[in-house]
Symmetry: C2
Subunit: 121 residues, 2 copies
């Protein structure tokens, strides 16, 4: 069994914003070195979710956990991403694909806000 | 001196997404009970940044820290929000207004991703 994580963000027309997800993937890879870690963008940039799932499978993944890297639940995380993930998973019947909750809300995000505020106060 | 925090998110057409910022403000208020905490949306919803700054001043704030609640630096956090904050601050010359970095990137966000992934693995 090879496990993969697919980080999915919104996607941007700004290259540096998209590259930030690559940096994040590298950090996750460093923390979970036994996992394949790939990225995808919901909109506006490639790879898209379909291509991201394919990249995980191409790397040998038999289990894929998709993480919507979004601050809160909304249409994108409750509807758009699940729909795309389901369609992509249907093309790989031997692969188990699961979806995590969005990044936020989470108490640790409050910690970061407090830290950011303290940093300029 | 009365200090305020203004949390600014992107804003959404979905009411529940906007309400999530109110919930977040409540959490920040609970952690920093000596601060006035107000919210604003960059786009698509009210109060906007201008109204958010005004709300802080109306609550008696003489120092306002504006936090862009965004996952990463980009046009919104590097250009749009600073420009709006500067214009709003210019209307209140006696009030000190500062801007924090965006929420992300931050190592604690990686912690949350790891936790989300572990939660379904």
């Amino acid at each position: 069994m090879m496990r993969a994580i697919l980080l999915v963000d919104h996607g941007s027309r700004v290259a540096s914003a998209n590259e930030a997800l690559d940096t994040l993937a590298e950090q996750v890879r460093n923390r979970l070195p036994d996992r394949v870690v790939r990225i995808a963008h919901l909109e506006l940039a490639r790879p898209d979710v379909d291509e991201g799932i394919d990249a995980c499978v191409a790397a040998g993944a038999t289990e894929i956990v998709v993480h919507p890297y979004f601050l809160g639940p909304g249409r994108h995380t409750s509807h758009d991403i699940p729909r795309l993930v389901e369609a992509a998973a249907a093309r790989h019947p031997g692969v188990r694909v699961r979806l995590t909750p969005a990044l936020g809300p989470h108490e640790k995000l409050v910690d970061v806000i407090i830290e950011r505020v303290a940093g300029v106060s």
